[in-house]
């Protein structure tokens, strides 16, 4: 185990790019992304893994970045909200959130979009029950979730039209 009081060097991929940063071993991935890597799209809502605002993908698995210590990030591939669109071309989920009103205040939106994109990668045609369950770790206080469900359904529809 490295000394908790000494910073370590972490090498990983962030949004497809080789990245290195320095962090305390137990520093939260959330803080490292926001402060060391400069990607502030990942948000803090509760700091205890309840709200999902800080969701990112780590080796394709959805994680709460407030619960992941920097130590554990070594050698992994991270995808944040900044890596969801293909340049200026929005991901189907992002476009659907705009069209269907899935984003209101926008603070849960980065985590919610990653959760939705992750769900669609696993279940390209999810049932309503699968959508509800897939997003159950992401809290939204504005929308009452209905427009978010509609956004996910719309994203599926569009993806099937233009695979």
């Amino acid at each position: 185990m490295p000394d908790a009081a000494l910073k370590i060097r972490v090498r990983c991929q962030v949004n497809g790019r080789a990245t290195e940063f320095e962090a305390y071993p137990m520093e939260r991935l959330l803080d490292a992304l926001r402060e060391q890597v400069g990607l502030t799209g990942t948000k803090e809502g509760c700091g205890e893994g309840e709200c999902g605002a800080c969701c990112v993908e780590m080796d394709g698995v959805l994680v709460n970045s407030c619960l992941v210590p920097a130590l554990q990030v070594e050698g992994t591939a991270i995808r944040t909200i900044e890596g969801v669109a293909d340049g200026d071309r929005l991901h189907a989920v992002q476009q659907a959130f705009i069209t269907c009103g899935g984003a209101q205040c926008g603070i849960c939106t980065p985590g919610m979009i990653l959760a939705a994109a992750n769900l669609l990668a696993r279940h390209p045609r999810p049932t309503v029950a699968q959508i509800r369950e897939g997003l159950a770790g992401n809290l939204c206080r504005c929308t009452g979730y209905i427009k978010i469900f509609e956004s996910v359904v719309e994203a599926c529809r569009k993806s099937e039209q233009n695979p």
Binding site: R34, L39, T40, G41, T42, K43, E44, G45, C46, G47, E48, E50, C51, A53, T80, I81, E82, V84, A85, L90, Q94, Q95, F97, I98, T99, C100, G101, A103, Q104, C105, G106, I107, C108, T109, P110, I113, I131, R132, E133, L135, A136, N138, L139, C140, R141, C142, T143, G144, Y145, I146, K147, I148, F149
Partner: protein, 742 residues
């Protein structure tokens, strides 16, 4: 004339920034040399400060330390009155009251330092309940612990009891509710005597913060600048408390001469900032055998916490909404906001109305039950009609048709069939089903003469390319201000929404359009946006550069010529109170609101009789809110509001222990998740409102009023439990069910 833009679901103006993570919230902003700030708070609910001790192995000389004596101006957070200190110096009146501020570059060391400050306090006896406050077990505020009281009288209540066939009484309670915006509160400040004070932050009301900072620093208005950053939800929670955080960040910046950022973590935000006022209501209702209301006597009390903040205004709205959309000849409402040693309660969507509407709508189901009438039939026999008077003697001039809204809601929800079906099925089942409803109204805009005093302004200007900029202090916090204002301006001028730019709220660049609260943004400020941009068009008409029937390119070239030859092309609009609206503040009588939204909500629930868990299975929300400007955004307001109402009714339980919220975490303060929300079907009856922009009325707060009582009535229908208090947690319901069995 057919609308081009109004009534269309134009996509959210700042949507792209939000879905790509590029939108900049206060915590995403970092300034060179910036320090982090933290707040040391009172560990006692009431007492005298004996000493402040800086302990531990902390390099204290590296820290900027601020106490009350560092405040350049007056030590208070100016709001309605000036009773709340910015940093308390001698006495503490609630837990988590701010006492010392610290700043340091290293936020980890800062947190260690915050824990190493010991506040030595001689405790004083405290008041934790409204009952003790009324009984004055201790006098903790003013002479009688009363922040404000109201008395509303209509007809002759005292003589009416004798003529009634039935008199039904009941007590009702609602708990505190946390706004739980997902972005916690935060501010960044730069401040010096030479440059003045500038703050950037998450807030609803730039000019509230501006006013508070002027007094705190003793600086003129042009030395204070307040800028709203992208705001991750407010719901009322960022109405008054941002003034406190802005003041703290600014004091640290003033002393350190460096930029300072304060952001709260979730626990601090939940424990220290405002919540919905807990309430107690008592109803006594006289009714005839055939279900006509004869008299309503209502006693309504809210817990204001330790300082006045907005409690008088919350009480006012709660009081006016307490008698609902009914025609009753004799009404008395007595109400009061009491001081306790809890952190001050404050604005939360609905603003007193969800509390008093819960009591009324639950009570009326009990009244109907007592006289053997169906609950909907009792409502139908008393619904207010155009030309009749509300409790505050406001004559209803709107074409209100509650019967029609109820019919629509009952068809959409299958109310009658389900009511029968559930009653038949429930006898056999451990999962019982129920269906209930609430019928209610919500006044839009400030109460009474409030809008007249606010005297809001909006400015607009056109560029030489024919783009139009709207300057208003109304903030976007997710509800859609940017998009709605763009639609109103585009419709008025015959332009596309893309040609409208909404300027970021910044007190250095936008006039005071009042606070972003009270369901007033679309209806009141939106109307000013419409008037301001009409002013631009009028200037172009008068200069002869533009003629009616113009195209967008005509407009652009007219703007180009105007700005080239005559200079800036701008216009302002100021609120003018409609002459026909009168309000008597002394008697609390008159036109309380320019317009009301009217609604009927139906909730269907299932109750697991083994665990006493309640699920909302289906929800129908029917309302008349005037012309709907943007159907997707309007639906978002209703669905989101219903979800918050479900939380208020079932899950969101603030657990108090001697004035402290002991469950200040998302882990044990549960808000609805995607698994808890039923299908929410909404329907808008659209009757254009003559004084609203393109016919719109207010919408934002409405859904909080009717959701909880509809659910409570459905639970009562399913189980026979006489629900008197929300939230109806499984523990609370189980106790009630056991009592029925016994």
């Amino acid at each position: 004339m057919k609308n081009r833009v109004i009534g269309m679901s134009v996509p959210r103006k700042e949507g792209r920034e939000k879905v790509t993570g590029r939108a900049r919230y206060v915590d995403d902003i970092s300034l060179p040399g910036m320090l982090h700030g933290a707040t040391v708070r009172s560990p006692a609910a009431r007492g005298r400060i004996l000493g402040i001790h800086f302990e531990g192995d902390i390099p204290w000389n590296e820290f900027t330390i601020v106490t009350a004596k560092d405040i350049p101006g007056k030590n208070c957070i100016a709001l309605l009155i000036e009773d709340q200190p910015c940093l308390t110096a001698e006495f503490v009146n609630h837990l988590e009251e701010p006492i010392v501020l610290l700043a340091h570059r290293d936020k980890y060391l800062l947190e260690e330092a915050r824990r190493a400050v010991r506040i030595e306090i001689e405790p004083l006896p405290a008041v934790f309940t409204m009952e003790d406050s009324i009984a004055r077990t201790q006098t903790i505020w003013g002479e009688d612990n009363i922040f404000k009281s109201f008395r509303v009288e209509k007809g002759d209540v005292d003589s009416a009891w004798a003529t009634a066939d039935f008199i039904v009484e009941g007590h009702y309670e609602t708990g505190a509710q946390e706004q739980l915006y997902i972005e916690t509160q935060g501010m960044i400040a730069c401040a010096s005597p030479e440059e003045g004070v500038t703050v950037w932050g998450s807030l609803q009301c730039p000019y509230y913060v501006h006013k508070a900072l002027m007094l705190l620093f003793g600086l003129p208005s042009d030395h204070i600048r307040v800028v709203q950053t992208e705001t991750g939800g407010g719901f009322g929670g960022k109405e008054e408390y941002p003034s406190m955080i802005a003041a703290h960040a600014a004091l640290l910046a003033w002393k350190s001469r460096q930029p300072v950022k304060i952001t709260y973590d979730r626990a601090e935000d939940m424990a220290a900032t405002t919540k919905r006022h807990p309430s107690r209501a008592w109803h006594r209702t006289a009714v005839t055998r055939d279900g006509k209301l004869v008299a309503m006597e209502i006693d309504f009390t809210i817990d204001g916490g330790a300082y006045e903040t907005l409690s008088p205004v919350v009480l006012s709205r709660g009081t006016i909404h307490a008698a609902g959309p009914y025609n009753c000849p004799n009404v008395r409402i007595l109400s009061r906001a009491m001081a306790t040693n809890a952190p001050p309660h404050g604005a939360f969507r609905g603003f007193g109305a969800p509390q008093s509407v819960f009591a009324l709508e639950r009570h009326l189901d009990r009244v109907a039950n007592t006289i053997g009438l169906a609950p909907e039939e009792l409502r139908r026999r008393n619904f207010i009609q155009e030309g009749q008077t509300l409790a505050v003697s406001q004559v209803v001039t709107e074409k209100v048709n509650m019967d029609h809204l109820m019919d629509r809601a009952f068809v959409l929800s299958g109310y009658h069939a389900k009511r029968k079906l559930f009653e038949a099925g429930n006898r056999e089942s451990t999962i019982r089903r129920g269906i209930g409803f609430a019928t209610f109204l919500h006044g839009a805009g400030f109460t009474g003469s409030g809008e007249e005093y606010l005297a809001s302004e909006v400015a607009a200007e056109a560029t030489s390319e024919g783009r139009v900029r709207v300057r208003a202090a109304s903030t976007e916090m997710g509800q859609g201000t940017n998009t709605i204002f763009s639609q109103i301006a585009a419709e008025a001028l015959g332009l596309d929404v893309d040609q409208i730019e909404i300027v970021q709220p910044d007190t250095a660049g936008v006039p005071n359009s009042g606070p972003t609260v009270a369901s007033r943004t679309s209806m009141i400020v939106g109307k000013l946006v419409e008037s301001a941009v009409y002013g631009i068009r009028e200037k172009l008409f008068q200069s002869g550069l533009l003629k009616p029937g113009y195209t967008m390119s005509d407009f652009a070239s007219a703007c180009h010529k105007y700005t080239e030859n005559k200079g800036p092309l701008n216009s302002t609009a100021k609120y003018e109170h409609p002459r026909e609206l009168h309000w008597d503040d002394a008697r609390y009588q008159g036109d309380a609101y320019g317009a009301y939204a009217w609604a009927v909500y139906v909730a269907e629930v299932s109750v697991d009789m083994r665990t006493a868990e309640v699920r909302v299975e289906d929800f129908v929300a029917v309302q008349e809110v005037g012309k709907v400007i943007n159907p997707v955004l309007a639906a978002g307001q209703i669905e989101g509001g219903v979800a918050q109402g479900i939380g208020f009714a079932l899950y969101e339980n603030v657990v108090w222990q001697e004035g402290r919220m002991v469950n200040a975490q998302m882990t044990n303060y549960a808000m609805p998740t995607s698994m808890d929300i039923p299908s929410i079907r909404h329907y808008f009856e659209e009757i254009p409102y003559a004084r609203g922009p393109a016919g719109a009325k207010g919408i934002g707060e409405l859904p909080l009023d009717g959701t909880a009582p509809a659910i409570a009535n459905a639970i009562a229908h399913a189980t026979g439990a006489d629900i008197r208090r929300i939230p109806v947690t499984p523990e609370a319901l189980m106790e009630m069910l056991e009592r029925i069995d016994a």
